[in-house]
């Protein structure tokens, strides 16, 4: 059973379109992180959200943490080919001394 479910798994859109990817769980997380991974490289952190209901903006990217701290979303406005990559959500569970767990990711392709 996957602790963090990401949707959609694959997304192919035209340059300039908007998109939202989702990260859902039945567990509560003390914080959630979003990473972006390009081929042949390790994931790189985009943002960390820690407070329920928190919204963070990073240029054209908007991240939201659910009120109950069980889910998160990433919205990209006016997508560009440079946004292409694998987007991974990851979280530290609220209970226990557990490491960062990852979702399976959303593979985004932005076509010029």
């Amino acid at each position: 059973t996957q602790l963090l479910e990401q949707s959609p798994q694959f997304l192919s859109i035209q340059e300039g379109e908007n998109l939202t990817v989702y990260c859902n769980s039945s567990s509560v997380f003390s914080s959630l992180q979003w990473y972006r991974q390009e081929p042949g490289e390790g994931p790189v952190l985009l943002v960390t959200v820690v407070t329920g209901g928190e919204v963070k903006k990073l240029k054209r990217l908007t991240f939201q943490f659910g009120d109950a701290r069980k889910d998160s979303s990433l919205h990209i406005t006016a997508a560009q080919p440079g946004d292409t990559g694998l987007y991974l959500c990851a979280g530290f569970r609220d209970s226990g001394n557990t490491p960062l767990v990852f979702g399976k990711g959303t593979r985004l392709s932005v076509i010029a």
């Binding site: 390790g42 994931p43 790189v44 990852f102």
Partner: protein, 114 residues
Amino acid sequence: GAGVSQSPSNKVTEKGKDVELRCDPISGHTALYWYRQRLGQGLEFLIYFQGNSAPDKSGLPSDRFSAERTGESVSTLTIQRTQQEDSAVYLCASSLVFRIGELFFGEGSRLTVL
């Protein structure tokens, strides 16, 4: 170096052979993690080390997998009697403190078992 360094970057081996993968974390980072990423998939936790505490081995898929870390520096992940299902990218990451802040990843070691 400034980042997490992993070697080898690519390893092709025959089924049944042992392999050793190395990770050199960022200096001063007390926590070190190993993850496995199968083709097109997310990251699967394997093991983490935090300071001098006993490592959390709960993610290791079988007793063919083991890992060591020398103090707060280099770590090696060893896979004995490799199987084809072990083929994956093995990613190492480090962080300043366990469960706080960002994980910094290396570029990974791509293992192919023939």
